[in-house]
């Protein structure tokens, strides 16, 4: 009996092993999600606290944002806004249907907007008083107050539009077992922390103008895998287990360069590394000392040595592509050690015998907090060395992400290295609002003029142009007062198997998303 079964066992084993290494079907592809998108528990944009690439492929938005931060029509073909900003009218694209066949029209929007009530994402539609159906494909938002940020909100991944009938029918199970949108892909299978399997929507013919391909996606079955360890993702790429890695960490880029079949493409970053300065503790109550710290950072050295020249030296608080970042060049915070030294001299901090500055017999020793991730620790050590070169001794403390927030709330920090990922100027309000002292306003900065400028930018802007002008003025005042030091604006690097995929020349949109996936072809 044993000998008669043995060949069968070997055959089964061989089949099993071979099947795992067999090349995928020509029209299939496997992508590795960006690490910060791992662990999405539910594919329901309305109540999600995190959306990932799968959401953006399942759902379409009314508006699509481009990589230069401009807004383009998608499910809304056009829109108008009254001069007082109190009414927005959207014309909707005809012929759009959800994956389950339900038509998309003005009634969909009237059902959808109120669904945000009571969720953590309610702020997105907070300014909308009511939705009026003007015609089958025309809808009007009557506002409680003007919201010049409305187009940005409507282009957000949290404002992907689900199918009303499927959403209501699935109840609490929506987003885990069922997810129905109008997007280029429909959900096949979803396992949190493992993978999401998507199938092409063959009826898709309503892509935004950001994609060259307006029709169905060339990739038939798209598997989005969650791989936390960059080394494992690299080995998967090396062995052909995956075809594209969405966000390659800077430290891993050289390894991908050793692969003959891998190509890399970069796209503008989505955030900034910066150093908040606690304005309420000595010696940083003095704006001259804050400025000296900001000017002592050699951003070029960080870009060249830590990031192999990839990315930009950040000189303001915002992404360079945002219009609100186009400030008076004199206000940009650049490396200027001579001015930093003279500012410190002027503030009474004179060089001591060991190179550390001293004032009234007290050495210039400050705390420098950072997070436990390798990237943060490396950057913090470089900044420590740069501060030392102008006579400031920084003592590093390392915390995990949640613990450091709790510490910030106590307000005892002096300097810290952190980052944010957001492509909207309202990040200034988040991190410098006098109403959020401690966290997220780690700089503990409360200034009457800043508050007036902030509120004007946030609530006094009726149109997008007004909002840009107001936020730029607020941004310039923040730069004048230096409650932070900008450090680095990273790029996003995408690695892909060039033997299997062809990517468009430009990655469209602020992040790797549906407009780019629609233009990827499989060889």
């Amino acid at each position: 009996m044993y000998t008669s079964f043995r060949p069968l066992v070997w055959a089964a084993l061989a089949l099993g092993l071979v099947s795992t290494n067999a090349p995928a079907d020509a029209a299939d592809a496997t992508f590795v999600l960006a690490a910060n998108q791992n662990g999405t528990p539910v594919l329901d944009p309305i109540r999600a606290s995190l959306v990932n690439l799968a959401d953006k492929l399942i759902y379409d938005c009314l508006v699509q944002q481009a990589e230069d931060q401009s807004f383009h029509p998608h499910l809304a073909t056009s829109w108008t806004v009254t001069p007082d900003g109190m009414e927005w009218t959207f014309e909707l694209k005809p012929g759009v249907t959800f994956h389950d066949g339900e038509p998309f029209d003005a009634e969909t929007i009237r059902w959808w907007v109120p669904k945000f009530a009571g969720t953590e994402n309610a702020y997105l539609v907070e300014a909308i008083d009511r939705v009026e159906v003007v015609g089958p494909l025309t809808v009007r938002f009557v506002m409680k107050h003007p919201d010049a940020n409305l187009l940005y909100n409507l282009s957000s991944g949290f404002m992907g539009i689900p199918a009303p009938k499927a959403y209501d029918a699935a109840g609490a199970e929506y987003g885990t077992k069922v997810a129905v949108g109008t997007g280029p892909y429909r959900l096949e299978r979803f396992a949190t922390g493992v993978e999401t399997v998507l199938k092409r929507n063959p009826a898709y013919k309503w892509a935004s103008a950001l994609s060259k391909n307006a029709g169905p996606a060339p990739i038939d079955t798209l598997t989005l895998r969650e791989i936390g360890d960059p080394s494992t993702a690299f080995l998967e790429m090396r062995t052909g287990g995956v075809d594209l890695v969405v966000d390659v960490p800077p430290a891993t880029v050289p390894r991908y360069q050793t692969l003959a079949n891998a190509k890399m493409q970069t796209m503008p970053g989505f955030g900034i590394f910066y150093m908040p300065i606690n304005t309420t503790v000595e010696p940083f109550t003095d704006v001259a000392v804050r400025r000296a710290v900001a000017l002592s950072i050699d951003r070029r050295e960080i870009v060249d040595n830590l990031y192999a020249g990839k990315g930009k030296a950040a000189t303001t608080f915002l992404l360079a592509s945002l219009p609100e970042a186009k400030v008076d060049p004199k206000l940009e915070l650049v490396h200027d050690p001579k001015t930093a030294a003279s500012l410190l001299d002027g503030a009474g901090w004179k060089p001591g015998p060991d190179g550390i500055r001293v004032k009234d017999g007290k050495p210039l020793v400050v705390t420098l907090w950072t997070q436990s991730d390798t990237e943060f620790k490396r950057m913090t050590e470089v900044i420590q060395a740069q501060l030392k070169s102008v006579g400031i001794r920084a003592e590093i403390s390392v915390f995990d992400t949640s613990a450091i927030r709790a510490e910030y709330k106590k307000g005892k920090q002096q300097l810290a290295v952190r980052s944010y990922g957001w492509n909207n100027a309202d990040i200034l309000d988040w991190f410098f609002s006098g109403e959020r002292i401690g966290y997220p306003n780690i700089s503990m900065w409360k200034d009457d003029k800043a508050e007036a400028l902030r509120l004007k930018a946030l609530k006094g802007s009726r149109t997008l142009d007004e909002r840009i002008a107001n936020f730029r003025a607020y941004h310039e005042y923040v730069l004048e007062q230096v409650p932070f030091a900008p450090i680095y604006e990273p790029v996003q690097t995408i690695a892909y198997n060039a033997d299997r995929l062809t990517l468009p020349a430009t990655i469209r949109g602020p992040q790797f998303s549906a407009p780019t996936v629609l233009d990827i072809t499989v060889k």
């Binding site: 795992t20 993978e195 062995t239 287990g241 949640s402 959020r436």
Partner: protein, 309 residues
């Protein structure tokens, strides 16, 4: 035996209560706030307060503990604050992966470990013994994340026998199970060897030899049976690992599981999930100990008698 089992189960109840208290206090005393991970940084203080109220985070720790215990008594592990889903659902989704990995690793530890221990004992102080024990020492001291990456490089990248990572195919459990199981295997091999060597010196073994019983029969029927008692204790204590002790390996091999769920929840300070996961781990350890005790008692009547006296 039944009375003994009942006594042991009852003895676990106070332990369980103490564990719930420790688990609860441990995570609430660590700095951090789940709401920071739930809402955007720019959210209003009112919105944060509303969420705190909704999840009872504005109440005292004692009230929160009693509420949690009340729900627990009804079999309700609560709802994740950040992940927004019932904790029981999240655990159910992940525990299968942990059981597959942990079970395979335990089986690997047990089978290969006992075999290696028996072979080493049979060739005591000879080169084969030294080689096996040297390998066991390396297996128990090499960090699992490093060992995992080395195994991926050899078996997945160079040889292409198994997938690099994931949990999509049954073959994907082989490398992580071997990585986790190696440490346990090393321990089992050493304990088996020592137990076999010590038992071989007992009087009854000399008597067996004198009676002309074959060396193989003595090794397999008598020595191994005695040596398995401490090995079973060791393996039962490692049952806790089955449920969630493979966090690093899960990360390296991009596998889901209770360990990964727990780490994500700790990073996000998602209290109900942390409580649920830690409770599951504690229960696994308690059950492992119980199973070990019962197996020992079944194999060795002296244990039952000691308890009775």
């Amino acid at each position: 035996m039944t009375k003994y089992a009942i006594r042991r189960v009852l003895a676990l109840l106070p332990v369980f209560l103490v564990v719930t208290g420790i688990v609860f206090l441990l995570i609430h005393l660590v700095p951090g706030d789940p709401i920071d991970n739930l809402v955007r940084a720019g959210s209003d203080p009112e919105q944060r307060a509303a969420i705190a109220r909704a999840y009872g985070l504005d109440r005292s720790l004692v009230e929160q503990y009693l509420t949690w215990m009340g729900h627990l008594a009804q079999g309700d592990l609560g709802t994740a604050i950040v992940q927004r889903r019932p904790v029981a659902d999240l655990i159910a989704e992940n525990i299968g992966y942990s059981l597959a990995l942990g079970g395979s690793a335990l089986a690997f530890s047990a089978i290969v470990g006992v075999l290696a221990g028996v072979v080493a004992a049979s060739f005591q102080d000879r080169p084969l013994d030294r080689m096996l024990m040297g390998a066991a020492l390396i297996g128990s001291t090499v960090p699992s994340f490093w060992l995992g990456l080395l195994m991926i490089l050899l078996f997945a990248v160079e040889l292409g026998w198994v997938p690099v990572s994931g949990a999509r195919h049954w073959t994907s459990v082989i490398l992580p199970a071997a990585t986790v199981g190696l440490a346990g295997m090393a321990l089992v091999a050493r304990v088996t060897r020592i137990a076999m060597v010590q038992t071989a010196r007992a009087d009854f073994v000399t008597l067996l030899h004198a009676n002309g019983v074959s060396r193989f029969a003595i090794q397999s029927r008598h020595l191994l049976r005695h040596a398995l008692v401490p090995v079973l204790t060791l393996l039962s204590l490692r049952i806790g690992l089955i449920v969630g002790g493979s966090v690093t390996v899960e990360y390296v091999f991009a596998r889901p599981g209770l360990g990964s769920l727990l780490i994500r929840a700790i990073n996000q300070r998602d209290y109900p999930v942390i409580q649920g996961c830690l409770l599951m781990l504690a229960v696994a350890v308690m059950l492992g100990t119980l199973i070990g005790d019962l197996l020992q008692a079944a194999m060795d009547p002296r244990q039952r008698e000691e308890q009775r006296s």
